[in-house]
């Protein structure tokens, strides 16, 4: 039984990483209606920027804030420069664009900062949290920040004009345009916010997975899986999905014989697919109704 609770705790702490990433995925999905395959690489690049700032002697929290600002602007710039012209292209072509962006960012980061693994500092320290060996103060801090972020997003979308406009632009673009919402800029704003959230996720994850150009590969997969599991339309679902995926993954690794590290991902994914077959819109997603 103790093993079981310990595994759940460990699952929650890895789940926090996925939850962060899933939140960023859902953000952009809300704004542009696609999964952005380059999301993880954007987050990785932001994390490198913050690392570089710290190398130049800027204190942690300043670097944190500057990075978020830079990422926000960067996200908008990418949308304006690369994806705005593709807005009318077929969806699959846009997906190819995400893959191209992935390749460009990954390769550039490798050239600028090379592929050696770098330590990344944490403001929360890494001593055991509340006497538990499995969850460190950093991971607890990470969970805390994720929850704060979720609350902030909820308030933003539910109680501000811009949040309402973004929701309108994403769900019914034509009508939103008719009432005077600039839907094209709402999409750009969505990219900016997704990039900023991605930056936060990257900065929080980096002390755990270490900093390198490929750090996001695995994390993004789990982030997607978590977002889809929770339902792509619900930020709350994404966070819950993230924790669930973390727990699934740990329990599968412990209790199913012969699984080990290699098969953890396929098993977690298989489980998610099973859930989706039963609940096709994810756990907390709104079922999409089709007009006949």
């Amino acid at each position: 039984m103790e093993l079981f609770t310990n595994q759940i705790l460990a699952g929650i702490s890895t789940g926090a990483i996925y939850a962060c990433m899933a939140l960023a995925v859902v953000m952009i999905y809300q704004a542009i209606d696609h999964l952005n395959f380059a999301q993880g690489e954007m987050a990785m690049f932001s994390t490198f920027i913050s690392w570089q700032l710290m190398q130049w002697g800027i204190p942690y929290w300043w670097a944190f804030l500057i990075t978020i600002a830079v990422s926000f602007v960067g996200g908008i710039a990418i949308e304006r420069a690369l994806f705005r012209p593709l807005a009318k292209a077929p969806i699959l072509t846009q997906v190819a664009g995400f893959i191209a962006l992935f390749s460009i960012i990954n390769s550039s980061a490798g050239l600028i900062w090379d592929f050696t693994i770098k330590q990344y500092p944490t403001p929360f320290g890494s001593s055991p949290f509340l006497g538990s060996q499995l969850i460190s103060t950093h991971q607890a801090g990470m969970i805390g920040v994720t929850v704060l972020l979720l609350i902030a997003l909820y308030v933003f979308f539910q109680y501000t004009r811009v949040g309402l406009a973004m929701r309108a632009a994403a769900s019914v673009p034509e009508s939103a345009r008719l009432v005077g919402i600039n839907t094209s800029w709402m999409i750009a704003l969505g990219w900016g916010m997704a990039a900023a959230i991605g930056a936060i996720a990257g900065i929080l994850i980096a002390p755990v997975v270490f900093l390198e150009p490929n750090m996001m590969g695995g994390v993004l997969l789990y982030g997607f899986a978590a977002a889809v599991l929770g339902g792509l339309t619900s930020p709350f679902g994404a966070v819950v999905g993230g924790f669930l995926v973390g727990i699934f993954e740990n329990l599968a690794g412990t209790y199913i014989p012969g699984v080990g590290n290699e098969l953890k991902l396929p098993i977690a994914l298989a489980l998610i697919v099973t859930v989706l077959v039963v609940k096709p819109a994810g756990l907390f997603g709104r079922p999409i109704m089709k007009r006949v």
């Binding site: 699959l92 072509t93 190819a96 992935f102 929701r167 997969l221």
Partner: protein, 338 residues
């Protein structure tokens, strides 16, 4: 967050409606392409012939994805898994059971058809990104499954299997590479003709009806579940044959050759070639084989970035892929004739 808002979404069309006549080439153009494919290898070095063989094989795999996505509107990131099953089936039959290489291909095809058909069953409930995730799961699981100790006796585990290259039969005085090229060419042409006819048939019309409007299709009496799984099966079957040929051509199968990266490459090939335009498959295949090499030769350190930029250029210039180029050429030729 907007749970209170009851949303009625009119179904966005993920895949363009390509009419079936626009899916193929005219007879004249087809024969020209065929003549080129027959003649060029006679004047090429063995390595070039090998690359051309791979071009045909990847072309088949892209074609298979094109039938699934361009034909029936379903999306798959799991093609690498079926390719792997095909490759391993051929390799194991040839090396462990001494079956003739030509006979292993239909077996690989049938096996993959079955696998695809079965996988299509749970996939029925999913569409769009959810289907993408499910197929993605399949693609990530496959290399790990092939590495499992339990299957190692057949699959050779992490090391994989070495496959012997077949000699030209009947004492023909041509090199192994050239024989394999023409062997592949014949199979490719056969599958291409099969695919074109499939899409023109009753089943093909059913696929396209589902792609364009699922509800309308089912209202007209199309068995949506059957045809969706059938599309998965056919696509997987063709991919399996391609995989078998690939194993014979590369002379080696190993789990890490068939990762998600390969599935993504096939997807890019389909987009570059033009979704729903079957002849474009070969163009897409050329893109995924040659462009990474070009990128590498431009800059070693930044090859990924160069590849990305080239890909962006292609989709900016021709968002509809090679099909768009073909349409433009057709118009020009038409004006010229007049």
């Amino acid at each position: 967050m907007s749970a209170a808002v009851e949303e009625v979404a009119t179904e966005g069309q993920a895949v363009e409606a390509v009419p079936k006549r626009a899916m193929t080439l005219g007879i004249g153009t087809s024969l020209t392409v065929l003549a080129l494919l027959v003649i060029v290898p006679l004047f090429a070095k063995n390595f070039i012939i090998f690359q051309l063989t791979m071009l045909l094989i990847y072309g088949l795999a892209v074609l298979a994805l094109n039938i699934l996505t361009g034909g029936s509107g379903q999306f798959s990131l799991g093609q690498s898994a079926f390719y792997a099953i095909g490759a391993y089936t051929s390799a194991i039959l040839m090396e462990q059971y001494n079956v003739n290489y030509a006979l292993t291909l239909p077996i690989a095809g049938v096996l993959c058809f079955g696998a695809g058909f079965l996988f299509g069953q749970p996939a029925l409930r999913l569409s769009g990104v959810y289907l993408a995730l499910a197929t993605f799961a399949l693609a990530t699981a496959m290399p790990q499954l092939l590495k499992l100790g339990y299957f190692e006796k057949w699959t050779g585990g992490v090391q994989g299997l070495v496959v012997t290259k077949p000699d030209a039969p009947f004492g023909l005085p041509i090199s192994q590479d050239m024989w394999l090229y023409y062997f592949t060419l014949v199979i490719t042409i056969a599958i291409y003709i099969f695919s074109v006819n499939l899409l023109r048939s009753r089943s093909g019309r059913a696929f396209m009806a589902i792609r364009d409007n699922e509800i309308a299709a089912s209202a007209m009496g199309v068995d949506v579940a059957l045809y969706k799984t059938l599309a998965f099966g056919v696509s997987a079957g063709i991919t399996g044959v391609a995989g078998g040929l690939g194993a014979i051509a590369v002379q080696f199968v190993a789990p890490d050759s068939y990762t998600i990266v390969f599935a993504i490459a096939l997807f890019l090939g389909m987009v570059v070639g033009g979704v729903g335009w079957l002849p474009g498959s070969i163009v897409g295949s050329a893109f995924i084989i040659f462009v990474p090499n070009i990128a590498e030769s431009v800059s070693k350190g930044l090859s990924g970035a160069v590849y990305g930029v080239l890909l962006f250029l292609v989709i900016f210039l021709v968002p509809h892929g090679a099909r768009q180029v073909a349409i433009v050429i057709q118009h020009l030729v038409g004006r010229f004739k007049r």
